[in-house]
Symmetry: C2
Subunit: 221 residues, 2 copies
């Protein structure tokens, strides 16, 4: 378990000795769950930091129409809902279900506070963890603010272009998957891609995309 914790975003960068010292000095718990067990229920009070030590969990939500939505999947070393432990409301925003045999490492909130005061690296790690979460959410909000689907596609393509520095790029997911990320239907996505082809912005076939008019693409972002 120590090895997994050392790689987790909470304990990364500290030595094995330090971690062992922390585990000896401060109380913690480990519980195991079987497939389909509930690890936590939506709206539960959130009193502990939880880290997955083995297995796989799903964060699930029930939307207003009663449909189940899988928010994310977390594997070994990942930290569960870190941004809700210290929030005013202090409730789980999602239900958490084990997908297979799974181990969860628990730290009470007050204990975590003491560890952060004793160990600067853990403090900085935790601050970075929730700050990055806020930045991520903020970026997703900006993305949703794009008016049209073509704007979103252009942003997505331009982002890949900047990372790979090549005009020859590739959709990283299937249309079905992309359309879910963009919050539109699959045919709508295909249609928009088709139009961008006709407009001479890109030239795409299946997952392969060639950016033809970078200027026009940038204008859309």
């Amino acid at each position: 378990m120590e090895n997994i914790l050392l790689k987790s975003s909470l304990f990364k960068g500290i030595s094995q000795m330090e971690l062992i010292e922390i585990l000896n000095r401060f109380p913690y718990k480990v519980r195991t769950f079987g497939a389909n067990d509930f690890v936590a229920m939506q709206y539960d009070k959130c009193e502990n930091l939880m880290i997955v030590t083995e297995g796989l969990i799903q964060a699930q939500m029930v939307d207003s129409t009663g449909k189940l939505i899988v928010v994310e999947e977390l594997g070994a070393g990942e930290v569960l809902a870190p941004a809700f432990l210290f929030s005013s409301g202090n409730r789980m925003p999602v239900s958490v279900v084990a997908m297979q045999h799974t181990g969860i490492f628990y730290l009470k909130r007050a204990v975590l506070v003491e560890i952060m005061q004793a160990c600067q690296q853990v403090l900085i790690n935790y601050l970075q963890l929730i700050s990055d979460r806020a930045v991520f959410l903020s970026q997703r909000l900006n993305f949703h603010a794009f008016k049209t689907l073509k704007n979103k596609i252009a942003f997505y393509l331009f982002d890949i272009y900047q990372r790979e520095k090549s005009l020859h790029i590739c959709f990283e997911y299937t249309q079905q998957n992309l359309s879910e990320r963009f919050g539109v239907t699959r045919p709508a996505l295909a249609r928009a891609i088709g139009e961008m082809n006709k407009e001479g912005i890109i030239q795409s076939k299946g997952k392969d995309v060639k950016i033809v008019d970078l200027q026009k693409l940038k204008m859309l972002v």
Copy 2:
């Protein structure tokens, strides 16, 4: 200045003595700005925690079409972009402009870390500050995820109904203002309100709203 800081979300709950001790022991800076001065530029490295000690600032963004968007206004005691100081990217997401004569209190990131390790209340306050920010962003994201405008209006009205526990409620803003919050045009909002009247869900005239069919309203949320 101490009085303002004592009321800020970073130092709330600590005694005046403790604050004075912190200010004596750790280095900080205060700078003043005149109206229209830039306090920080978008994409600048974010190395300091900033608290407004007097005056008023605006957080501004330039969107892709070059239009200026006012993200928020902060007055005395408010903390600036706390979620970005410890994030990996570590850049200002907005430009900050003083609207009038304004004072800003600066704490270097490393100094803030030391203060948090020395004073548990400040640590917990800061954790709560950025956690609440993440929760707020997460809720806004859910709000944007509502499919139709009527869903958003229903959510907004139902929320007021739950707070005030009365079927007789009142739009808290003008249609223009509300339509901006909902991300639609003003006529579209008026039309949707009109339709909800025709459908017998509400009965509204100007800002006054009477919820006629709470059941139907709840179904929309």
